[in-house]
Structures are given as structure tokens and as C-alpha cells.
């Protein structure tokens, strides 16, 4: 089962954020479909639309791996099912 999800990364800019996050995604069979990234006043903000293959990598496991990389990089990383945004922001 493929699940669309939104990944948000927020924190102080530093070397290796995109590399660190995307490496974990690749290891867990998560496909990146879209990326938007900005830096505002030194704050790194990245939003990704991804597809999680829950058949091989349960959502919970992917979240746990991302929590580890979040701790290592000192960033705030959130992975949420995409429909929550569609529900809340579209009539």
C-alpha cells in the first residue's frame, strides 16, 4: 500500500540536512515526489511530498527512523499523512 505523506523539516541551517534526511528516506523505500525548500533568517525549512510503501516499510518505522535523524541533526522533522492537509485547507 502506497501512502502519500508530507514531510516537514525545520531548524537551524547546517551542512548535510538534505543528504541526511533523503538517505533515511531512500533506505526506507520512501519515494520523494516534490521538494520545496527555503532559508528564512537562517532557519532552514523544507517541505517534501513523499510516498511511503507501507507494504514493505510501516509508517511507524519510517517515523521512528526519521526521529533518529532529527535528533542527530538537531532539526524538527514531522511526517504526516497527506490527507490531513487536504482536509483542513481545501473545501
Amino acid at each position: 500500500m502506497k501512502t502519500r505523506a508530507v514531510l516537514s523539516v525545520l531548524g537551524e541551517d547546517r551542512v548535510g540536512i538534505v543528504a541526511g534526511v533523503s538517505a533515511v528516506l531512500a533506505e526506507n523505500g520512501v519515494n520523494i515526489e516534490d521538494i520545496r525548500q527555503t532559508i528564512l533568517a537562517g532557519i532552514f525549512s523544507m517541505t517534501m511530498l513523499v510516498t511511503v510503501d507501507e507494504g514493505t516499510h510501516p509508517f511507524e518505522t519510517v517515523q521512528a527512523r526519521l526521529a533518529e535523524v532529527a535528533e542527530r541533526l538537531g532539526m524538527q522533522i514531522t511526517l504526516q499523512r497527506e490527507d490531513v492537509f487536504r482536509f483542513m485547507h481545501r473545501v
Partner: protein, 455 residues
């Protein structure tokens, strides 16, 4: 393609992380009609089996939804068919064993409250109703998670004044039996007019007679989100603009509730019931309905204009919410519980808010006289007078009203009590010293009101 903007994603994240957006409760309504038995003990066994089986997966399913969607689900709860309506077969005067079984079942499935130790007596008190009402003080004193409610009035039946007088004594007795914990038993007891059958919020949740076997009802929350939106508006933004902003916010909050309700129902394999559009505060700083009214422009909750602000808030929340779900139900009106709302507590402490103003506010929202600490020596007739006033507002205006009064044993006006957790803390409020005894002692029933000539 990402068709949601990064700003919208950030908005949602901020709502959760800084403004306390959460789903206040996912409440599983369970019919216990099949648990009818000849004795309270047999009924208790069946009830325990029924509830633990039906709700076995409630907590893990809610926890998974919470994790995957990133929206906290604050409480998981259960409501059952009003026990008195199932207890007719029991040849017993004491239904306390059933309350104990409810408590054990709640504990077994890992939830904090189970509602439905209830009776509907707006027109008359049946034998099972009598047994249930009599056992409320003992039931609430010997259980931790059981919530009780009694409906004493309705627009179609009028107000059962005898039942109100009796409930006032039951409240006093419950206060006395739980005296060592600041009469906490009364915090789990609601007296209703026009009780609804699909309310997910405690302490008044029951699973009504018109419901399917098992349903998921969801109560939204989000006072902090609404307050932040209003606080960000300029001071001279007019009230039409304020109403518009509340509507837009309410839509988003309600959609989160709708999503969780659909998903929980799907994963549990049961029917989706309703989404309750009530802004429900918690004692956490910033999660306050009073602070919304203050952000709208009254210096302190309770100042003149407070009823207007609350009416606007309540109406705008429903209008926005009505676009967000086609399953509106439950109480769907802002809650103004004193002890559970830091802003309300402050307003009472500084003298801006009193019992009479809360009664006026009841006319434009739901469950107005909620979590109110009163002096322990308040006469039962005075409690009955306060409850009947709340009921009169509900009955005449065809809306739900309720009273959750806590005459705290041994405490007087100005003292402070703390129940902890979601129940919060509150100052003991002043109550009128003028007697209601003659009116209450008349008893009888206030006839149902006319449906026309509405002024």
C-alpha cells in the same frame, strides 16, 4: 505535485505545536441493551464483557491515527446506553455493582472516563431510575472513571421539579462521600435539560436509544487556535471580520475532527457517528474560551458584552463547522467550565465573573453552569434553584443546558480547590443567600412551554 502550500503546512504544524490544536475526545458509543439481566451482578458480568470486547482496539487505533496524522487525540472514552434504561429487569435496589463493572472495563481498555451511569426522568421516575439515582453517590465515591448524568427536563415534557430537588440532595450526598478529595464525585455528575443522545464529552456522554450498536463520536477542540487568530487581527477589525475569521478557523478544526472520526470508524469497523463542534478548554495556559472572549474585546470574561462575544463565537464556530462536516451532533456549543479554563478562573478570582453572569452565558452556549465550586454548606434547595434556572433556559429555548455543581464539603466562598488533571482547579464561588426553598418544596412539574409566541 504538492498542491498544498508550505504556508498551509506550517499553519497546521503551528496549530498543533503552539496553539494546542487537538481532538479533545474520540468516544466510542456502545449499546448495552443486550446486557439486561435479572440481577445487578449478572448485568455487571455481561456489561464488562460487552464493553471490553467492543472497545478492545479503541486506544491502539486512536494512538496510531494520532501518530500518523500528527494531530493529538487528547482523550479516548466510552459512552454506554443509560444504565437505568437497561436495568428494568434487575430485581434490585442498588445498581452500584454495575458502576464498578463499568469502572473495571474502562480500566481494562485503558480509557480515563466511561459515561452512561444515567437516567432520563424528565417526566417521571421509574423503578430502575429510582434505583440508579439512589446509588449515584456510592457509585461515584467507589469508582474512579465512571460518569453519571440525569436528564430532568425537556422542551417536550417540561421540568420535573421533584427530580431536580432530589438531584440536589444526591449532589450534596456525593459531595459528602468524596469530601476527602474536595468532593470530586460531583465533577462526574451532570444534571441535564434536553440531554442529547450522541454527546462525546464527559461527564454527560451517553449512547442514546436511536443509535447503532457501536459508533464513533468525535469532539473537536481548539480554543487556543481561535484565540491566536483573533489576537493576530487589528484592534479595530469589526465584528463581521472577527466572525469571518472564526468561521474559517472552525472549518479547519472541524475538518481535522471529521478526518479522525472517519478514519477511527473505518479502522474500528464501526459506524461513524457525529462530530461535536464544541470549543472545549483545558486548564493549560492558552487553551481557554475566556481568553477568546477577552481577545475579542472584553477586558475580563464576565464584563458587560461577554454574552454578546460568546454568542458571536458560538454561532461562527457552528457556521464554519457546518461546512466541515455533514455529521454535526452532540452538544455543539462552546463550553465554559470554570475550573477547566485558566481564563475563567482568573475572571472569577478578580471578581469579573459570577454565577449570575454564567447563567446568562448559558443562554447562548451549551452546558453553562459547568464545574462550579460552591460553598459546602449551600442548601440543597439553593442548588435545586440554580439547576432549575439552567433547565428553564434550556426548556424555553429548545436547547441543551446542564449544571455540574460542586458544593465542596468544608469549603467556603473564596477558598481554593484543586481536583488536578483535566478537571483543574477553581475558587469557591459566592452563592446567593436568598432562599429558593418555598419554590423548590412545591415540587411537581413545570409544564412544557408553548412552541409559539416566542418572546
Amino acid at each position: 505535485m504538492l498542491n498544498i502550500s508550505p504556508e498551509e503546512i506550517t499553519e497546521t504544524l503551528l496549530m498543533v505545536q503552539q496553539q494546542h490544536l487537538d481532538i479533545r475526545t474520540v468516544t466510542l458509543g456502545i449499546s448495552i441493551g443486550e446486557c439486561a439481566a435479572d440481577s445487578a451482578e449478572e448485568m455487571s458480568l455481561r456489561l464488562y464483557e460487552r464493553v471490553t470486547r467492543a472497545a478492545e482496539r479503541l486506544v491502539p487505533v486512536c494512538e496510531a491515527i494520532e501518530r500518523e496524522y500528527g494531530i493529538p487525540i487528547r482523550n479516548k472514552r466510552i459512552s454506554v446506553t443509560p444504565v437505568a434504561s437497561v436495568a428494568g429487569r434487575c430485581a434490585c435496589d442498588d445498581l452500584t455493582p454495575v458502576a464498578l463493572a463499568m469502572d473495571r472495563a474502562a480500566s481494562a481498555v485503558g480509557i480515563d472516563f466511561i459515561g452512561g451511569y444515567s437516567a432520563l426522568v424528565q417526566k417521571g421516575v421509574g423503578r430502575a431510575d429510582d434505583a440508579l439515582i439512589r446509588s449515584i453517590p456510592a457509585a461515584l465515591a467507589t469508582t474512579e472513571r465512571v460518569c453519571s448524568s440525569v436528564n430532568v427536563a425537556s422542551t417536550r415534557a417540561g421540568i420535573n421539579m421533584d427530580a431536580i430537588a432530589r438531584m440536589a440532595h444526591i449532589i450534596k450526598e456525593t459531595a459528602a462521600l468524596t469530601a476527602e478529595a474536595d468532593s470530586i464525585g460531583c465533577a462526574k455528575l451532570v444534571v441535564f435539560a434536553n440531554m442529547v443522545e450522541d454527546n462525546p464529552f464527559m461527564a454527560g456522554a451517553v449512547h442514546g436509544a436511536g443509535e447503532a450498536d457501536v459508533v464513533v463520536n468525535v469532539g473537536i477542540s481548539g480554543p487556543g487556535v481561535v484565540r491566536a487568530v483573533i489576537a493576530a487581527m487589528p484592534d479595530d477589525a469589526d465584528l463581521t471580520a472577527v466572525a469571518e475569521a472564526i468561521k474559517a478557523t472552525s472549518f479547519k478544526i472541524t475538518r481535522a475532527g471529521e478526518l479522525v472520526a472517519r478514519e477511527a470508524a473505518r479502522r474500528l469497523g464501526v459506524a461513524m457517528g457525529i462530530v461535536d463542534l464544541s470549543l472545549a478548554p483545558t486548564p493549560a495556559e492558552g487553551d481557554s474560551v475566556a481568553e477568546i472572549l477577552e481577545a475579542m474585546g472584553v477586558e475580563r470574561c464576565g464584563a458587560p458584552g461577554t454574552t454578546t462575544a460568546l454568542a458571536l463565537l458560538n454561532d461562527a464556530v457552528k457556521k464554519g463547522g457546518a461546512m466541515g462536516t455533514s455529521s454535526i451532533g452532540g452538544l455543539s456549543g462552546a463550553f465554559i467550565p470554570v475550573s477547566e479554563d485558566a481564563g475563567m478562573v482568573r475572571a472569577v478570582e478578580c471578581g469579573a465573573l459570577n454565577l449570575e453572569k454564567l447563567e446568562a452565558m448559558t443562554a447562548v452556549c451549551s452546558v453553562g453552569l459547568d464545574m462550579i465550586a460552591l460553598p459546602g454548606d449551600t442548601p440543597a434547595e439553593t442548588l435545586a434553584g440554580i439547576i432549575s434556572d439552567a433547565c428553564a433556559i434550556g426548556v424555553i429555548n429548545s436547547k441543551t443546558t446542564a449544571a455540574r455543581l460542586i458544593p465542596v464539603a468544608g469549603k467556603k466562598a473564596g477558598d481554593h480547590v484543586s481536583w488536578g488533571g483535566l478537571l483543574g482547579a477553581a475558587p469557591v464561588m459566592d452563592v446567593s443567600a436568598w432562599s429558593s426553598a418555598k419554590l423548590i418544596n412545591r415540587g411537581g412539574r413545570m409544564p412544557a412551554p408553548l412552541g409559539s409566541l416566542r418572546n
